[in-house]
């Protein structure tokens, strides 16, 4: 069971890398001073950040609109935040989503578009694969709506701000805590 802590920053924030190491220090209960030296960050080939000196600390980052979020846990994790804004939703759904997801969204007027997107992206961020050729090959939706589990992984939507959708993906979530970053 994974306890998940999500740190968030608003528009006035440090650069993404700096946010990440500060959050890592907060997650470890350490002072922020010297965090950059204690928490060097590397990225996988597909761009997922990790901490080579602390492989038991897992993280996933996302940014959208005015917000940057970093999720931390002792288990591998994926997170995605999406601001709701105009876009070619029908075209994006047809072009990049699984046919099952596209059918579901068409049936309900695309009102769940951002939930599908955030669920899918949190799923591919869990594995570290990121959005690639695989994005349209799995479905997070069935005829009755969005699934709470895909391939043994749990998808949980977390209330954040109005006009934003936030989804967390991990094996089994015990708790989710939202904490302002410092």
């Amino acid at each position: 069971m994974a306890a998940v802590t999500i740190y968030w920053y608003g528009p006035e924030r440090p650069a993404s890398r700096r946010c990440l190491v500060r959050c890592a220090a907060l997650f470890a209960g350490e002072p922020l001073a010297g965090a950059e030296e204690r928490w060097p960050v590397q990225e996988s080939e597909k761009g997922k950040p990790f901490f080579p000196l602390s492989p038991e600390t897992h993280c996933s980052v996302t940014h959208s609109g005015d917000y940057w979020l970093g999720a931390f846990s002792s288990e591998p994790i994926g997170i995605d935040l999406q601001i709701h804004k105009p876009g070619r939703l029908a075209a994006l759904s047809r072009r990049f989503f699984h046919p099952e997801e596209d059918r579901y969204l068409q049936a309900f007027g695309f009102s769940d578009f951002y939930r599908v997107w955030a669920a899918k992206e949190s799923f591919v961020k869990f594995s570290g694969e990121g959005i690639s050729g695989n994005f349209g090959r799995f479905s997070v939706a069935g005829p009755q709506g969005i699934l709470s589990r895909v391939d043994g992984l749990q998808l949980r939507f977390v209330p954040f701000r109005c006009d934003y959708t936030l989804c967390v993906c991990t094996k089994e979530i015990s708790s989710v805590q939202l904490v302002p970053g410092k």
């Binding site: 876009g87 075209a91 997107w117």
Partner: protein
Amino acid sequence: MLEIIQKIIFEVTGKNEVTIDTDFVRDLELNSFDVMNIVCAFEDYFDTTIPTRDVWKLHQVRDVIEYARQRGIEE
């Protein structure tokens, strides 16, 4: 080609400080949704399809221009 890409990015994201060296994520802070929207607009404009696996190789504006040139996508 650069002007068309600038126009598409502005229409989709409202960002207008775009040069050939601009990196979509580092400089414009675009996320995946923004990039996919740009891809859809680009595909509509040029009546073409960019395989999803190729999308994530296009980090900078110059990559898109080179990609278009290699595939014979013209203005």
